[in-house]
């Protein structure tokens, strides 16, 4: 998941579709995000490359829509509904996730175990 600035990023991603849940007046997704280009990347416990300023999942609430959809702790979110999440500020990411008129968010997330799975499956052949 390391990246070189200016070069296209390639990663093995998983598509996750989360349906928002009504809780009182708000639509919630059931996880917390951390990171962003305006944040300090060295504090990120989930990233391999400590200069990675992407958006990471830092908490998944139990039984929430995110856990049901398959989101795991430590995932890096690459896209939300087609919007790029690798080079956004924290606030921009939050806005893209909490649009009031969208019921469903389709995320592309990546994690280290995905790559290993793919590599293993390729080695088996």
């Amino acid at each position: 998941m390391s990246f070189i600035p200016g070069q296209p990023v390639s990663a093995v991603v998983q598509r996750i579709e989360i349906h928002k849940l009504y809780e009182g007046d708000n639509l919630i997704l059931g996880f917390s995000i951390g990171g962003g280009i305006d944040q300090d990347p060295t504090q990120n416990p989930f990233s391999e490359d400590k200069t990675d300023k992407g958006i990471y999942v830092t908490r998944v609430s139990k039984g929430g829509p995110a856990e049901v959809a398959g989101l795991r702790l430590g995932d890096k979110i690459m896209q939300v509904n087609g919007w790029d999440m690798t080079m956004v500020t924290h606030d921009q990411a939050r806005k893209k996730l909490t649009k009031k008129n969208e019921d469903v968010v389709r995320l592309l997330v990546t994690r280290k175990s995905l790559e290993e799975t793919v590599r293993q499956s390729m080695m088996q052949h």
């Binding site: 917390s32 951390g34 830092t58 939050r94």
Partner: protein, 524 residues
Amino acid sequence: MDNESQYSGYSYKSSHSRSSRKHRDRHRSKSRDSSSRGDKSVTIQAPGEPLLDAESTRGDERDDNWGETTTVVTGTSEHSVSNEDLTRASKELEDSSPLECRRFAGPVLSGVLGVFALLTPLAFLLLPQLLWRDALEPCGTPCEGLYVSLAFKLLVLLISSWALFLRPPRATLPRFYVFRCLLMALVFLFVASYWLFYGVRVLEPRERDYRGIVGYAVSLVDALLFIQYLALVLLEVRHLRPAFCLKVVRTTDGASRFYNVGHLSIQRAAVWVLDHYYTDFPVYNPALLNLPKSILSKKMSGFKVYTLGEESSTNNSTGQSRAMIAAAARRRDNSHNEYYYEEAEMDRRVRKRKARLVVAVEEAFTHIKRLQEDEAASSPKHPREVMDPREAAQAIFAPMARAMQKYLRTTRQQPYHSMESIITHLQFCITHNMTPKAFLERYLAPGPTMQYQRENGSRGRQWTLVSEEPVTSALRQGLVFSLRRLDFALVVTVTPLPFLTLGEEFIDPKSHKFVMRLQSETSV
């Protein structure tokens, strides 16, 4: 005028053509009607050196004798004179000094006027005493007070005139120096009107009120003090605050500098620029200018054009040259390659010679050391030969002479440094305990032009100020004038300094606070 076109056409090698051009220059500088060309070309003369000096081109290796077979036509002489006569005549003109008289005319005039103005109050006081002393009313204490104040003010006037105005002028300006003329006219007017009133009111009716006369003299001195204040402000203070930026570029090798000046007229600005030229600009070395011929001459040698048919020659030649130029432009041009390698080679050679020179000089300096006073007394057993600086310099010059000569030849500086001057400089450095590096700083980089002046600076250095505006007009934006010398010129462009808007921002010293960087977590 045909002498100008000839001026631009000549090269500067022969002594005959040099002196005839000096002759022409002097004629041209004496007449001020050069406005027929549209440009106003006037002469500035700065004290310094004779007209021909280290600045104009002269190369030792060039042949000075080819002028024998050249025909020189001087446009100013009506009858034909031979070259030797011209040389002799111009030398006589040089040796007699009409130029020097011109230089001092202005200051002498203003000096006479100043002395006259200073003596006038004393004359006002003394004339009644001399002429009708008995009829004067005696005047006691108030008069004495006035005497003291008069004496004190005269003393102040005298000292400040000496400090401000009694300085040898450093430049002869082509047109009148407007402010100085204004002030002289003012002083003359004041003093004349005071004398007029004095003559009519005091001398004629033999005025008896001496206190009034003394008061009159004191008021004249007050007025003179105020005129001196005006002179101080106009001549010295007004141009101190910078208002314009002058860019000075030398036409031959592009050396350029930027200077800030205040409000000046064009001729005063030219003098200012020349003052700084002599100390800031590296000396003009004509030998370092051009690309080697080997690179440039390869351009046009590739094509031969044959004419078929019997057309007229003029049409053909222009067509030919245009065709050749076009073809040469289309051909792949590799001369930049050669230039690059030639430059690299030249650099390498200079560096090698410089290394040899530095080593030779360092080694030479180790041969001598300064004799301490106690050493001479304490070692009678080993009598060493005691030398004065000149002999010491000559003794250590020999091992480094060859390396020095080769280095100077490579950097084309050998016209500026004769063997005598090198030994003199070496003697100077030894006397002042300088290291070899300090001795070499004079030769390793081309110094400012001031360094190469000869000591006999009694004659002026001739510069010509060329400008499209009258030279007494003030500097303003976009003005361009140039200062021309025999073989190069300085082009000066005037731009105003930008107007600065300074804003203020107050920073509370307690406001310098820091936090750790953000690591926020938002739940969505």
